[in-house]
């Protein structure tokens, strides 16, 4: 990503071209993860973000680098969108000492404070409360905090308690629900009364918007408005971004519960396809797109290689302590 960023030019088209590059980086990362998992190099389990890239990238495009974000166990996209180095992230997935958390965290629990990623959480609603706390600090620091979470998390106490608290305290908080229509294996409507997440915000007097989460421009516009409201003291916003995961819930889930036609319909609306078409339409050259695509492919190949070459942490020299002294 550093390569793409360093070539950033002025103008909105260029910034969306950068964002396209970042979405592509996430896709490329997840494709690599899928392959590495099948090859037995990724341990445990992993939850892939492919298909949802426009949400994380669109929201983070509206944030300043010093703003905070919290992510989920499906968090590789959140980390990369916030600025985590792909090499350090893939090394973490491979359990290497050079990982962003030294191999101590793994796929579901990435933390990257340097880039404002407060954490990613294995409990579905955990990101909402962590984001709420970052928003409390943000109010003093002139920052904004965004929390990513899935539709399944809106049935946890975290969602309701935190939305209420964010509004009561008027915190600079953007709650970003990635509604991919399945809570693990269960369809949204079977587990979510009303099947309308944005409507839940009305009860808390919080402005809420339903967004096409596969449309980078739509996500960015909605997030920019929410971030501006938060920064100016207007309090929290809920964004309900409709999107779809390309893989199952986790590794080992081929998602047989999803109708074939539904999957095909969503694959036609692949956020990368949509973004590419829109950029061409807006006058970005095919050669510019190809350049970004080649650059991302090379960057990801390099990241995987360096992670594979890196050493595992050595338990004999690991100086882990329970407490900070």
């Amino acid at each position: 990503m550093a390569n793409v960023q360093s070539e950033r030019q002025t103008g909105a088209k260029t910034s969306y071209l950068d964002a396209y590059g970042r979405m592509l980086l996430i896709r490329s990362f997840e494709t690599s993860m899928h392959r590495l998992f099948l090859e037995g190099e990724v341990h445990g389990t992993t939850h892939l973000y492919a298909g949802q890239e426009a949400v994380a990238v669109g929201v983070c495009l509206a944030l300043e680098p010093e703003d905070y974000a919290t992510g989920t166990y499906r968090g590789h996209g959140h980390a990369l969108a916030k600025g985590t180095e792909p090499g350090a992230l893939i090394a973490e997935m491979l359990g290497r000492a050079t990982g962003v958390c030294g191999g101590r965290a793994g796929s579901m629990n990435v933390i990257d404070l340097e880039h404002g990623l407060v954490g990613c959480y294995g409990i579905v609603g955990g990101s909402i409360a962590a984001g709420l706390g970052a928003a409390l600090s943000s109010r003093r620091q002139g920052r904004v905090a965004a929390a990513f979470f899935g539709d399944g998390a809106t049935n946890q106490g975290y969602f309701h308690e935190c939305l209420n608290m964010a509004k009561v305290m008027s915190l600079p908080f953007v709650a970003v629900c990635e509604n991919n229509f399945y809570a693990e294996f269960t369809p949204l409507a079977d587990a979510t009364a009303g099947a309308n997440i944005a409507a839940r915000a009305q009860g808390y007097d919080i402005p809420a918007v339903v967004v096409d989460g596969n449309d980078l421009w739509a996500v960015h516009a909605a997030a920019a408005e929410a971030v501006a409201r938060a920064r100016s003291g207007g309090g929290p916003t809920l964004l309900e971004c409709h999107t779809y995961r390309h893989y199952g819930h986790s590794k080992g889930d081929p998602a047989p519960y999803r109708p074939k036609e539904e999957v095909e319909r969503w694959l036609e609306r692949d956020p990368l396809k949509l973004a590419r078409a829109r950029l061409l339409e807006d006058g970005v050259g095919e050669d510019q797109l190809v350049a970004v695509e080649e650059q991302v492919a090379a960057q990801m190949a390099q990241a995987v290689q360096s992670a594979r070459d890196a050493a595992y942490p050595d338990p004999a020299v690991d100086a882990a302590t329970e407490f900070r002294a």
Partner: protein, 326 residues
């Protein structure tokens, strides 16, 4: 030296740390305007303003999560979960977020938060307003668990907890709030270092919280029986200062651990295990005084019989030592 009330010691500790460090904030349900249900924190919102001292909704999970998120982004939150029993609600945030952060982040940052709660039986509050939650958290690496026994201990340990860079679960026995005692001589009491509350040579009594003054009262009575009891105030259950207990047992050769809670899964049984593992050669006798393995009862007759109070401590020592009352 003027007498200091336990609840005032708590308030003074929070006030002094709010004064000293602008990153410290204090919040909870009815702690600000109302000053807390045990009247431990009146006057703080007036002195420090609503940005730093504020009331919150009854949302224990969000409270703990907010404290965690704020702590890792530069603040030092002190918050109240009113009764220890309510600590079942914010457990995910404390156990899965706050306790893990320092380690799994590869030490990118830590979580300087303190969560205070009123605990313990004897107040006729029934089964769900009388528990002591320390053992629910004791097996979680990354959490400190502090439980003061007197006004001076409360002040020094709470100030040390607020300055600690790690998450601290701070317990206040509700039967101690009205107790008065000497003001502290030191500003801070280090966490993880047990204190010798009373020196003795025949028996070591290791305990914590309100059971410390109960054990001290029992030791007075036992002294008249000719039994010299050393009382160790553990001060914290994680870290647990086993070394001080071992040192004492090497002199007395007898250990009684008193816990206001059941034996099964309790800290006292764990302490006995550690002492046996490391100091069996020094032990002539070791036993526990704990509660029944039931929820805490409401009726005064049942609750009084349930709690290991001064009389129960005296009785168990006399029975064990074969000493008749004088």
């Amino acid at each position: 030296m003027s007498a200091l009330e336990f609840r005032t010691a708590i308030r003074d500790a929070i006030a002094e740390e709010l004064e000293r460090d602008e990153d410290v904030v204090f919040f909870g349900e009815d702690v600000a305007v109302a000053g807390g249900v045990f009247k431990a924190t009146p006057g703080l919102i007036e002195r420090f303003g609503p940005e730093r001292v504020f009331d919150t909704p009854i949302s224990e999970l969000a409270l703990a999560g907010m404290a965690y998120g704020a702590a890792v982004t530069g603040m030092r939150p002190v918050f109240e979960i009113m009764f220890g029993d309510f600590m079942a609600l914010p457990m995910d945030s404390l156990v899965n977020q706050a306790a893990k952060f320092w380690y799994i982040s590869n030490e990118q940052g830590s979580v300087p938060l303190v969560v205070r709660s009123a605990v313990g039986g004897g107040g006729r509050f029934g089964a769900i307003h009388s528990q002591t939650h320390a053992t629910w958290f004791q097996g979680v690496p990354g959490l400190k668990i502090v439980f003061p026994s007197s006004p001076a201990e409360a002040k020094g340990l709470l100030k040390a907890s607020i300055r600690d860079d790690n998450p601290v679960v701070f317990l206040e026995h509700k039967r101690l709030y009205s107790v008065k005692g000497e003001a502290p001589t030191e500003e801070l009491i280090p966490i993880g270092q047990a204190g010798i509350a009373r020196a003795g040579s025949d028996l070591t009594i290791a305990t914590i919280g309100k059971s410390v003054p109960d054990a001290l009262a029992a030791a007075e009575i036992l002294a008249a029986d000719g039994v010299s009891a050393e009382v160790i105030d553990l001060r914290s259950l994680r870290p647990l200062d086993v070394a001080t207990v071992l040192e004492s047992v090497s002199q007395t050769n007898r250990l009684l651990a008193i816990e206001e809670g059941p034996e099964t899964g309790g800290w006292a049984a764990g302490l006995l295990g550690s002492v046996a593992a490391q100091g069996l050669h020094d032990l002539d006798d070791a036993w526990l005084l704990t509660t029944a393995e039931t929820p805490i009862p409401y009726s005064p007759t049942l609750e009084d019989a349930f709690i290991p109070d001064t009389d129960a401590i005296v009785a168990t020592v006399r029975e064990r030592a074969g000493v008749a009352a004088r």
